[in-house]
Subunit: 378 residues, 2 copies
């Protein structure tokens, strides 16, 4: 449907920019600037030098400090065999289909959690991610409260409210977060290590192929060190993005064929949020996240969720999402795109990768992204 | 198309409110409040007590003052036989079709213009409206510059720029402005008299039936006192809203039948902006304007056009507008609506107007609006 494709293009041409870069501010914006230039147009930015004054900036790169501060604390840890929680996984019983897999969550002494995360090589097939999206920074991690700002002052003034939730994330390079969106304005501060984001605006909703998947949950058996993935009973369906932006070499042909609107459309925005930086991740933006640990072996981030305005942009989003694109093979856009996808599948891989002008867009940008963040499963 | 109807409803439920009222602020907002609560959600408001400190507020209700200040000045005046410039008019040669009629514009001494406007009874079939949408306040009316603020400080700080144009409007109760939209953030200050607005959000674009009309222009012949309306040569087409919200008794049946999405959809927002008040008219909102003169016989207003952001909201608007609704009789929504319109045409006018529960929505709200501002042509 060419109208939807035009929308993807126009929002980039008018507002977001046609490169894949995210605008960077050297200093925190004023509340008016933040509202006018980013929140109102629903446009991401990265703010450098935003948390240099936090005690956490100096203290949290040292595991000893964190271990002492939380010595007597149990925290929630998400355990998976592969670092992919809240993500699609092969259906436990039906061949070639998928389920929505949640992590095994358990309480553990913080020092054990930190050891698991910062020494991943000692526990093969066990990936730990300390995170809870329930304002955990003010609950489990209350002992660290004075190390960070309780809120981001320029954002609080702009948005007219305090954060609804502040969450702490401690993980390593094996954890990734699959494409999804949140109904919050998000300020994502990286305190140690780096976070790598792929971002797509809400206008691109059809490109993520949101479908209903049966919910499943990992159970971890400490004695055997093995995981079991079981569907919830009674069965429950979760709408989730179908696209894995970094499919393995084995599956990429099928994935690029199944999800042509993603792989043949405009490149996602991409950015690396470095230690001491804050990403403004606007409400309703789809995001996929990976991370690189800092010197302590952990990536530590804290994010502030502020209530979003459910206004005309949200109404427009719901309207856009309510429009069902014609099935493959019908409608000019999809016919064109699937023919590109077929071309790629049959021919492109034999071409000279240096001759980028002859390659379809999808392959050009996939190559670039793959170079940046290679799937560890490959 | 039910998705489009849902959008009209949702933007009201989430953000604009389900009444036809426009929010009123007793004092000017802070720049952050203005951005967050009105500009970003593209939502109108009226600010009372916003220009009590302007010298104009006291001085401009007196024609003598204005006459003296502009004694030696020629200004542009728009002349029409009926107060409807930039509006649809019967096509000069083709029966039952319409053209887009512009006023006869000429330069006249300001004192003559003021006399024409404030004494409409002396010149039957000649309606004068002093206005030019070309920053005229800083050009023709420069002698009045010190009577008003050069810009609205809280809006300038919020929007991050000075006004692109400041325009002065002097008219009487015979002039009206037909439904249209502007690509500007508009701050509309009433200095004398009252302005009555009907407002529809950009999401309602299909309800205005924007169509291409051939451009025509009035010529006024001073010796005979008559107007001639001629098509431009070469012919030029102007996209314009087809809906007249106050059709005459003679034409209302046809108009309500021709434009069912307007007359059967949600009521427009309506407001009266009184002397000393400012209307924030958000970019891309459709507006229809009438006026009531102050004690001097004139309505005087000054509006500040600020550049709008062409961001995701604008991209969504273009996307919405690009979606063509199915022709009448196809699609559930239009079938439903046209059957309501037919019901009304054949039956409603015979019903008891007190029994409002039995009346379709369209008639209920039309009755109310008609009572507020009766078409002078009726």
């Amino acid at each position: 449907m060419k109208e939807v494709e035009s929308l993807w293009e126009e929002v980039r041409e008018l507002s977001l920019g046609n490169s894949t870069q995210v605008e960077r501010l050297e200093l925190p914006p004023s509340p008016v600037q933040f509202l006018r230039d980013f929140v109102s147009p629903n446009k991401p930015c990265i703010i450098s030098n935003a948390l240099l004054h936090w005690p956490a900036f100096a203290l949290w790169s040292c595991n000893d400090y964190l271990g002492r501060a939380l010595a007597s604390t149990e925290v929630s840890v998400h355990l998976t065999p592969n670092g992919r929680a809240d993500s699609l996984a092969p259906h436990p019983t039906e061949l070639s289909s998928f389920c929505f897999a949640s992590a095994h969550v358990q309480q553990m002494p913080f020092t054990d959690v930190l050891h698991l995360i910062s020494n991943p090589e000692r526990n093969k097939d066990l990936v730990a991610y300390a995170q809870q999206q329930n304002d955990c920074f003010h609950a489990e991690y209350a002992a660290l409260a004075s190390d960070c700002e309780a809120h981001i002052d320029w954002a609080t003034e702009a948005l007219g409210c305090f954060p609804e939730a502040v969450n702490l994330w401690i993980g390593n390079h094996l954890s990734e977060t699959s494409f999804h969106k949140d109904h919050y304005e998000n300020l994502y501060a990286v305190v140690s290590g780096e976070k790598h984001f792929l971002l797509l605006p809400p206008t691109d909703v059809h490109r993520l192929y949101i479908r209903e998947y049966p919910a499943a949950k990992y159970s971890y058996f400490q004695d055997t060190g093995e995981f079991d993935l079981k569907l919830e009973d009674p069965i429950r369906y979760v709408p989730w993005c179908s696209v894995n932006p970094f499919p393995s070499l084995r599956t990429e042909g099928k994935e690029m064929n199944d999800f042509p609107l993603y792989f043949n459309g405009p490149m996602p925005f991409e950015c690396t949020v470095k230690t001491g930086e804050i990403l403004y991740l606007p409400s309703m933006w789809f995001h996929y996240v990976r991370q690189t640990p800092g010197p302590s072996g952990c990536t530590i981030a804290i994010n502030y969720w502020y209530d979003m305005q459910f206004d005309v942009k949200y109404a427009y989003f719901n309207f856009l999402q309510s429009i069902r694109l014609p099935p493959r093979g019908q409608g000019a856009c999809l016919t064109d795109l699937s023919s590109v996808a077929m071309l790629k599948k049959n021919e492109v891989f034999k071409r000279d990768p240096q001759d980028s002008k002859k390659l379809p867009l999808c392959w050009k940008w996939k190559k670039k992204i793959t170079a940046i963040a290679r799937d560890p499963a490959d």
